[in-house]
Amino acid sequence: MKGARAMSIKIALAGNPNCGKTTLFNALTGSNQFVGNWPGVTVEKKEGKLKGHKDVTIVDLPGIYSLSPYTLEEVVARNYLLEEKPDAILNIVDGTNIERNLYLSTQLMELGIPVIMAVNMLDVLEKTGDELHIKQLSQKLGCEVIGISALKGLGIKEVAEKAVGLAKSKKIGSFKHEFDLRVENVLKAIEKKIEGEIPLKERRFFAIKLLERDEKIAAQMKKVPDLSEEIKKLEEDMEDDTESIITNERYSYISSIIGSCYKKKGQGKLTVSDKLDKVLTNRYLALPIFALIMFLVYYVSVTTVGTWATDWANEGVFGEGWSLFGLTVPGIPVLVEAGLSAIGCAAWLQGLILDGIVGGVGAVLGFVPQMLILFLFLAFLEACGYMARVAFIMDRLFRKFGLSGKSFIPMLIGSGCGVPGIMASRTIESDRDRKMTIMTTTFVPCGAKLPIIALIAGALFDGAWWVAPSAYFVGIMAIICSGIILKKTQMFAGDPAPFVMELPSYHMPTVENLLRSMWERGWSFIKKAGTIILVSSIVIWFMSYFGFVDGQFRMLEDMELGNSVLALLGSSISWLFIPLGWGDWQSAVAAITGLVAKENVVGTFGILYGFAEVAEDGSEIWGTLASSMSGLAGYSFLVFNLLCAPCFAAIGAIKREMNNTKWFWFAIGYQTVFAYLVSLCVYQWGMLLTQGTFTIGTLAALLITFLFIYLLVKPYKEGSYLERKKTMELK
């Protein structure tokens, strides 16, 4: 139709993992997609509109090393390119390791879609002293090449404009790479055979894939010609299988063009990243260094810097008052109370607002400073590239009980939020390992559990230095012990998967990226507090301030909460937790509300222990909690909440990822029973060691501990395929 409006254009971003694709995507679309540093972060394609162009959509494909169909990311990317047929491909190439990156590029250029190449990290390349002649490269490849630095924002506009121009012109470059003559001849023959079905521009790609015996491509074709003769002849001729032939041809071609375009200056010297790695992944120092770093992260964010900030929040903003430039600003509860009284608000409504909403939500919001600092640290560790090394370091440890370092990645992600952590287990190929990873990922304390940690550490242990970091290590130990125990059962026995992972160079993350990541997490925490926790608080308040006194159902005084509906419900199960040291209805109820959101544990305590009541003597925050729960009981309570079933959102994620009701219930059951038994032992052993009491509970703890030790040290069951594998390796 003449004069029709231009159809919307789709440009796909394709490139290796860690080459800066997502950073470029953010720059092009202005969105704030999270930039992760390991495989599995981008497993789906993401779309956004190009800034300033309403009709141009940019699609961020998962990072891939090639277009073969072996990993989930490759399949997603390849299917997108073949089926959705974008108008152009923006191939991002990491300038600091061009050779490997070009392996994918050669394949992209065979698809029959216009390609424009952006060489990223030019700033880093400059520092190394190596030289890259972009014009030469462009000429040799047969497509346009633009140098950029996505991080610094250089060249972005140019590459965007050129990409749009290319997409509109629909001009496929004249890709010049040719393989060995023998291979080319066979490809010509294959192309002739598929002429009928495959359009011209895609023919080369299909021909090469068919030559490589790519089954998935063959499955997509209606009629697959018989190529066994051609393949056999070529394989005899060149003394190798066709897949290897093509691979070698690609690399030969790449070497031939690299020689004229890329000049290395620094010869074989260790880079800064390499030197750092020698220390951080040193066989003796690696684990202690990691332990020290995580200790510092939790110590600083919860106990030192965090505490000062949270004390200000809890005692000041949500307490009596705080000083601003020498003036005393009354705390929110004081203000609200005054305001409500002045307006003549009824007592019950005042109670709902003060004790319920301010009490519940305020208690949680008080921990925002500590969360922000924790998230800042975690964002830094991930963005600088260290966390990728941790997966590698833990691989050696995990392998001892049959898992691989790949299983540790979901746990690293889980220290922020358990849901993406559980989702990240998708990249684990082995079904058993994946199930085991899903089951144990939430043992690592997520951000929402931080208020609980901080509360127990602050209120019951007076901010002792070891409490907060111990929470993290309890989680890690729980994972390791669970791993050992489960791997020794028939269900999970088997060899761990191999571990191969690219480690990005260490780099100093930009302050902007860090603050943005920290703020995003912090904001979602605040939003959560204002929505789901607020609603939960209202429900909890109603259930705790209304109950039966002398047969009459009415609103209760602060001292009468033990008669409430909530107390009634809580008492029906609180006896279960007596051996754990916290058999009161308040704690039981708090733990249950944690299912909705882990922050609710703190919120519930805030409502039930009269957080909004400013203590008459102005004593430490949470004085009433401290007086009703001993330190040991508190720690047992902490351990239980750290290890038991996670919040509904994470439970939902487990259900989806397990995709099997039986396994789902097994996972939840395992976590909760494990949590119960461990907390029981903590409390009972603690009582024995500190007070010398010996009760039936202590006996139970002894038995459980012995059982635990037995499960840890019993011999492994041979996986049925361990034998088969050994024979195969001898081929």
């Binding site: 939020c417 959560k528 929505t531």
Partner: protein, 47 residues
């Protein structure tokens, strides 16, 4: 009188919060995460 004013403000506030929670649920987003969808890299939307 004060009770009525405060009460209705509260009702409107909480009502709108609950409405937005339901809207999120309908869109497939989890209601318990806060606005953290960006950090999840799009894992929530069950297709």
């Amino acid at each position: 009188m004060g009770t009525f004013i405060v009460g209705s403000i509260l009702l409107i506030l909480v009502g709108s919060i609950i409405k937005s929670l339901i809207k999120d649920k309908k869109q497939g987003k989890s209601i318990q995460c806060g606005d953290a969808c960006k950090n999840c890299s799009g894992h929530c939307h069950v297709k």
